[in-house]
Point group: C2
Chain length 554, copies 2
């Protein structure tokens, strides 16, 4: 909802309630909840999520900030030992934040227990930096100018023992450290797993922002005409040009697909939230899926809002058209809450592992070295609408060739076959690292990087398709079901056409299929063009929320 209004507000809300509040909820215990949450919810206590440092963004495990226990006073000393330990790009830090959930290495009696989080006051009520705290402002950015990103560093700042968020590890009154999770790696990944909400919100915000841009560009394409054809009288509407349809309609189809995938993961998150102790495997699955959706949907948002800008010509470049700000604000979605390249590798890693036992406990090189057995058939479970999809796939085996392209079961089986093939090939390549020396093992894994990114994408594409199918299955109105079915066809066939090199290379489709796909995509674009107004109306964005000179009169 926020993202349909203003993305800076979305991120300010995300920082305050999702990250800062989320850290208290997920990493803290009863005292923290009672002490901090009411004021966080009401915004009386604006706060920061101080994880990233100048020196370490993606590699959170290597943050340098220290949280050292001082038994004499039952306090912690929070300190930035180097310039690269400075907390960086932190939302709410430059102006509004009064406290921060600070990630650092916990030291107790000379032993480091790895990354933990502690609540540190950073500003007094007058807005002045607390003693020992240095605050900076990153100044102008490429977008999100309503968010006060800044730096924080600490010069031996003392905070009470109780401020350590101790759900997964803390110090008792005798100064002894204990944790319910013995393995430090598993503990770390459990703690950073709290990022899952942030990633889901970024993915959802990306979809909403892009739907808004698509609404503006499609409306413009239905109003703006240019050039005449001989004998046809009226100038031709932009959206009647095939090339223009190809720019917008497959992206409208994706906007629907991605919306269903967001609905699905939000429900999955809620189900996990509803149980006291979630099953670790389910928690890991959710994290993998959130990582994949965040990467794929934010990439699409960046690309598609740009397409929308260009589809409006020079008019789209004027700020009052309402598109360039969306583009600038979503830009950073590709790298914050996890760099997309890192997240897709996380997905690939998840696909290769037996989640329950080894997830997160090995880095990728070790994983490659120890990948003793092939991931079996079981690695790929259907994630939504299992019964429906099982039936569709079985039926497809009897579908005549001429009708294959719009056969949902065939579509699913193409996505599944691609994913299975890519993961199996990746596992085979990575197993070559077994028994190699450090440099050689790294080289093997490094050479697989583009393969890993591809694996992460095709896995996510399949998850999205399954969510789309489940969404359509739940619709009762036959006309809506029919139209969503056409959108699903366009989503799938456009995806297969984009990736035709892979299918041809691996003999998964005959050469002639490419032109069939192209014709089918063009045909669906032409068919859906007549429903274009309905399709953008279906995004459900209130007209009054879209501030754009390109929308015409109400």
């Amino acid at each position: 909802m926020f993202a349909l209004g203003d993305l800076s507000l979305t991120i300010k809300g995300g920082v305050q309630h999702g990250l800062w509040g989320g850290a208290i909820v997920n990493l803290g215990t009863q005292w923290h909840h009672e002490t901090f949450l009411p004021d966080i919810i009401s915004c009386r206590l604006p706060g920061c999520f101080a994880m990233t440092e100048m020196g370490h963004g993606s590699d959170v495990m290597s943050v340098e900030t220290t949280i050292t226990y001082l038994p004499a006073t039952s306090e912690f000393d929070v300190h930035s030992p180097t310039a690269s330990a400075t907390k960086a790009y932190i939302g709410n830090a430059a102006e509004h934040g009064r406290a921060a959930a600070v990630f650092g290495q916990l030291w107790v009696d000379g032993t480091c227990h790895g990354v933990h989080t502690i609540v540190v006051p950073i500003r007094d009520e007058a807005g002045q930096a607390m003693p020992g705290v240095t605050l900076g402002d990153h100044g102008h950015k490429g977008g999100l100018l309503g968010v006060d990103n800044g730096t924080i560093s600490f010069d031996h700042v003392r905070v009470p023992r109780t401020h350590l968020l101790n759900r997964y590890g803390g110090i008792n009154e005798d100064g002894v450290y204990s944790s319910p999770i013995a393995n430090p790696n598993a503990r770390f990944f459990t703690m950073v797993g709290t990022l899952v909400r942030g990633r889901i919100c970024v993915a959802a915000g990306a979809v909403q922002a892009t739907r808004k841009a698509l609404t503006i560009a499609t409306t413009y394409g239905l109003r703006r005409s240019q050039f005449r054809a001989p004998g046809l009288g009226e100038e031709i509407l932009l959206l009647d040009y095939r090339a223009h349809q190809r720019k917008l309609l497959p992206n409208i189809a994706r906007a629907y697909a991605y919306g269903f995938s967001i609905n699905e993961i939000a429900q999955q998150l809620q189900r996990l939230h509803d149980v006291d102790v979630p099953e670790p495997r389910q928690a890991r699955e959710l994290e993998t899926r959130a990582a994949g959706l965040k990467a794929v949907l934010s990439r699409w948002a960046n690309d598609t809002i740009q397409v929308c800008r260009e589809a409006c010509g020079g008019a789209g470049y004027m700020s009052d058209a309402g598109i360039t700000l969306l583009r600038q604000d979503t830009d950073v979605f590709a790298t914050f809450e996890g760099d997309n390249a890192v997240l897709l590798q996380l997905v690939a890693k998840g696909m290769l592992q037996d989640y329950a036992r080894t997830w997160g406990e090995m880095d990728t090189v070790d994983l490659a070295r120890h990948m003793a057995r092939m991931v079996g058939e079981g690695f790929m479970e259907r994630t939504a609408a299992r019964t429906v999809i099982d039936r569709l796939v079985q039926t497809a085996q009897r579908t005549p060739d001429a009708e294959l392209l719009t056969d949902r079961g065939w579509q699913v089986s193409m996505f599944e076959a691609r994913e299975r093939h890519i993961v199996e090939a990746l596992a085979r390549r990575m197993r070559r690292a077994k028994g190699l020396g450090d440099q050689e093992a790294f080289d093997v894994v490094n050479a697989c990087q583009p393969h890993m990114l591809k694996a992460g994408i095709v896995h996510t594409d399949r998850i999205i398709l399954e969510a789309f199918i489940a969404g359509i299955d739940a619709v009762e109105d036959p006309a809506v079901k029919l139209l969503l079915g056409k959108l699903c066809d366009l989503f799938v066939l456009d995806n297969l056409l984009d990736d035709a090199t892979w299918f041809l290379e691996h003999n998964r489709m005959p050469n002639s299929r490419v032109n069939q796909l192209r014709q089918a995509v063009n045909g669906l674009c032409a068919e859906l063009r007549s429903h274009a107004q309905l399709l953008i109306d279906g995004f459900g964005i209130p007209r009054a929320w879209i501030h754009s000179t390109l929308m015409g009169e109400d």
Copy 2:
């Protein structure tokens, strides 16, 4: 040079000297040159190029502004008859422009002679709008905030007869219209042909801006490390990751390729400028090539500067990293000086026509209807280094399969075969319009639009490759030649890999070639990574001109 400094300044300069001055030079005659040029060159007379209107951007032939001859006073009446006739997005209009080259329909004694251009004063020396002239400001834009884009409309503004730029059509003292070009369509296309300089400058500026972004991102990739591999000690430099190499190195290769193509077309422009009356065919070829380069290079600039932004993570999103401004400023390059989709169709049209006789005289539907004969073998002439390339292609026929990928002759023949196939297939499809009714003929051409865009791109890719080969051939230093050869390999193989679907679909390569291409691209990335510093130094951008916090100490 300007583009390495500031893109707003580049565009201000382009408007003043390229467009406004260019209109006087190319469309005016001696009196205009003597009267206006000295003050244009010195910037004492800032001016506008007032072509685009609210209602008509790409379709310049349909502008609505009227230029009506008034015989009683030997004046012209310049008028905006509708709101959509308002001149829009005009650089220099909102603030600095004192005069404008205004495009409008010329009416003489009740007859319309089509689009002509006239000099109209729009502001007095105090900066106030002249009587009858209404000036507006587009306000904030997605970028180029140093350019004052605005609107201009005219309420029966009178200007002297002499102000009509009359090189291609004017009124004598007796009020009689005459033109050296009898055919109104040919006259129109000759006049708008003056845009060719603007397009070349946009393409060149796009390359320079992208080289600057690549310099910043590559420098960062050589300084910034993240994550450790087991047993390897130091953290790993970003540019040592394969996925990171794949982001940057193929784009560095393109930056070299595109630089050579800009050098080539600049020389071609100069050659044409050096003769009094250029051969029409050569002029048309230059226009087609400029259109293609502008479209391909501006697309690449947009995409690649974004890649550079993301390759620097959150740090790249800070404005003082120096990348987001480049991204925002180049954004509009995709649609100004001709929308890329329109320009690529212009290229395709050029490929299909016998330039000298029919270019510009038919719209695309008519062209399709009248395409009586196939474009022959002669349509594809080598554009640079003919002798060298002829020899390379001949030699390639004896190259063993294992060495094909890095055989320059084979590379050229792949680009040529693709272009020939695509153009021939396009011609066949478009000939189906022959004898059809208006709607059906439009439908045939409209269905070919994506095909036309593809034709425009592959033609331009071949032109670029030829310029690259000519550039390498002219280098004497063997080490430089060798390194440029590697870059050329990467440019070609990355292009073929990107487009592998087309080659597989049309049986132009075996399936196994795709993996060979992938391996070769990865191998070249790994090899060129060790020269990364040298390669960005080779862009020749003075360190002092790059204002970026990511460049480290000098």
